[in-house]
């Protein structure tokens, strides 16, 4: 045990004396979370829209005001003719046009129904979609407030409720993804690099010739990264709670346990990579290509899995990050307990056991 402690202390020296490691360990998580939180966002804010109001009556005026009053939209201009719609889009400033039909108030009262067309600039489909959702939700709110005061409710609209993230705050979507990336990066990439470094420098041989057992060497290399990953996870959660007011509906304890499980999955992958790679550079390339890309592209972090081609949907199942993202989204946003995520947890657990088994086998072959 004393030998082991000395080993871990040595590992910390390596980490704290290498500026690059320090940056990846502590600079990256904070930079990423802030970047995703503030800069890269598909949230909309003060989007310029144009209004083509064919009725110009009291109801439409009120309706337009309620849209203009929201922080999401500002009315850039009023247009008079259908032909102007294309012109304003071509100018590029306006992202959406509200096209209100003729005799809006009368139709509402007479038919109990009236139409507003929302035309969006779909060159950026994500934003267009978001704008559509926002406008719809504002209109619904407006309508229900009108109905309350009216004697005869003039329209029954099926309510589309947006659950879990009613404000569609994208940062809530990004936090789980960023957390997954960081844990993967720190645990898998950093350990695989630190183990292959010993191989490259020739010190691994020295360690294998020492009375330390091979698994002690590996565990000794991994322990500091478990510790640092846990700190990272805490930093990310704290940042997202206090800066982005992200809710953590579920149990923090469960969140912690699941994070530790994912950290161990990632570490097992890191060990596996280091048993294949002979140099730090190879280890880094395999980590980036083999781990980071799938985490970003196939985990559902940025692109929804349900809208992927069928074959990619299948492949996404072998990406551990996918399961972890489902788990933490469940805990943080929906507040579910273990009962609802035991399947995902089991998948992660199975993957971890598999990776550890595989690296033990690889390791043995190498020693023969």
């Amino acid at each position: 045990m004393k030998q082991f402690r000395g080993f871990v202390i040595k590992e910390f020296y390596h980490i704290f004396r290498d500026k690059r490691s320090l940056f990846i360990l502590f600079g990256m998580p904070i930079a990423q979370i802030l970047l995703f939180g503030f800069a890269i966002t598909n949230e909309i804010n003060n989007v310029d829209i144009a209004v083509l109001d064919h009725s110009k009556d009291a109801t439409t005026e009120e309706m337009i005001n309620s849209i203009a009053a929201s922080e999401y939209f500002s009315i850039d201009q009023f247009i008079e003719r259908e032909a102007d719609i294309e012109t304003v889009f071509k100018q590029g400033k306006v992202k959406a046009v509200l096209n209100i039909e003729k005799d809006f108030s009368q139709k509402l009262i007479k038919d109990g129904k009236a139409y507003v067309q929302i035309i969006t600039d779909a060159t950026d489909p994500n934003t267009a979609n978001t704008i559509f959702n926002y406008v719809t939700s504002i209109l619904q709110k407006f309508q229900s407030s009108k109905n309350k005061s009216a004697e005869f409710p003039y329209q029954i609209v099926p309510q589309t409720r947006m659950v879990y993230n009613p404000e569609l705050k994208s940062v809530f979507m990004f936090v789980p993804g960023v957390m997954t990336i960081i844990l993967m990066l720190v645990s898998a990439m950093m350990t695989s690099i630190s183990i292959t470094r010993e191989k490259e420098l020739g010190t691994m041989e020295i360690l294998l010739v020492s009375p330390l057992k091979p698994f002690q060497v590996i565990v000794g290399k991994v322990v500091p990264y478990i510790f640092l990953s846990v700190i990272n996870a805490i930093v990310i959660v704290v940042l997202s709670i206090f800066i982005f007011k992200m809710p953590v509906e579920g149990s923090l304890f469960l969140l912690g346990l699941e994070s530790v499980l994912f950290i161990i999955t990632a570490l097992a992958l890191g060990i596996l990579i280091s048993s294949i790679a002979q140099t730090q550079q190879t280890a880094m390339m395999i980590s980036l290509m083999g781990l980071m890309l799938p985490v970003i592209l196939l985990s559902g972090f940025i692109f929804p899995i349900s809208s992927m081609p069928f074959i990619l949907q299948i492949i996404s199942n072998i990406v551990p990050a996918k399961w972890f993202i489902i788990i933490i989204k469940g805990i943080m946003l929906k507040g579910v307990g273990l009962w609802f995520i035991w399947k995902e947890t089991l998948v992660l657990l199975g993957m971890t056991v598999f990776f550890i088994g595989l690296s033990v086998k690889k390791y043995k072959i190498r020693l023969e």
Binding site: Q3, G6, D18, L201, T203, E205, I206, L208, V209, P211
Partner: protein, 243 residues
């Protein structure tokens, strides 16, 4: 095993990688306190043979006992009784001299007091007193090799395996390095050393020369030179290597 003062006994030791025979039935003994030179061209199989002796590679066939323990089944016991220094760096560049000593002392199970004592001893002997808090990476190669050798002796092993310890080092430092080797051999430590430098072979008590996985010659440098009618060990080596 017979009662004698052989610390290494190798019999018909063989290592195969698939169809390729890297080490082919080598047999030799090394006595306690001996400086045993293990020579051979690159790819002759010396590193593979050495790896089997230090317990990180399992022999395909044959027996070998190091410090009284069987390499195939008692590798863990061997590891406690040997020191090892490889041709690449044996020390961590980003740790100070003192931290390196503490670390390696630690993994060999030395007590803190013992490590302190050894650190003082070692730095005094090497004239390193002012450099203990320097990063090893900032020291010249010659210094590193000398410190690495001393570190491999920290736990007072019976046998030290040196894998091309003087590669890339200037002649003066090599000279000093060999003085250190003599010193510890005089104290009873057995030295098993591989080298490229044929002049270094002359410093050994006995040398073996490996060619294509087999030991082609094994004797004291003096006798080998007589046997092959050569002026220097280099000539002996060339004659053997060319067949």
């Amino acid at each position: 095993m017979m009662e004698n003062n052989n610390v290494i006994e190798v019999k018909e030791l063989t290592k195969m990688f698939g169809d390729f025979t890297a080490v082919s039935a080598i047999t030799f003994e090394v006595k306690q306190g001996e400086i045993f030179g293990f020579l051979g061209a690159n790819g002759a199989g010396k590193t593979t043979a050495m790896k089997m002796l230090i317990g990180i590679s399992k022999p395909t066939a044959g027996d070998a006992r190091v410090a009284g323990f069987d390499v195939a089944s008692e590798a863990e016991n061997i590891k406690k009784n040997i020191g090892y220094m490889s041709q690449k760096f044996a020390l961590y560049d980003d740790l100070t001299v003192k931290e390196n000593i503490t670390f390696f002392g630690g993994i060999y199970g030395l007590t803190r007091a013992k490590i302190k004592e050894k650190t003082r001893e070692l730095t005094e002997e090497l004239g390193l007193k002012d450099l203990t808090d320097q990063m090893v990476g900032s020291l010249p190669l010659g210094w590193k090799q000398k410190i690495a050798f001393s570190v491999s002796l920290l736990h007072e092993p019976k046998i030290v395996f040196l894998d091309e310890p003087t590669g890339g080092v200037d002649p003066i430092t090599r000279r000093q390095f060999w003085e250190m080797i003599y010193k510890s051999a005089n104290k009873g430590t057995t030295i098993f050393v591989t080298t490229h430098y044929m002049d270094e072979a002359e410093y050994c008590d006995r040398v073996s020369i490996m060619v294509n996985g087999k030991i082609e010659a094994l004797d004291s440098p003096k006798k080998l030179k007589e046997q092959y009618g050569a002026e220097t060990m280099n000539d002996v080596f060339l004659k053997l290597a060319r067949g």
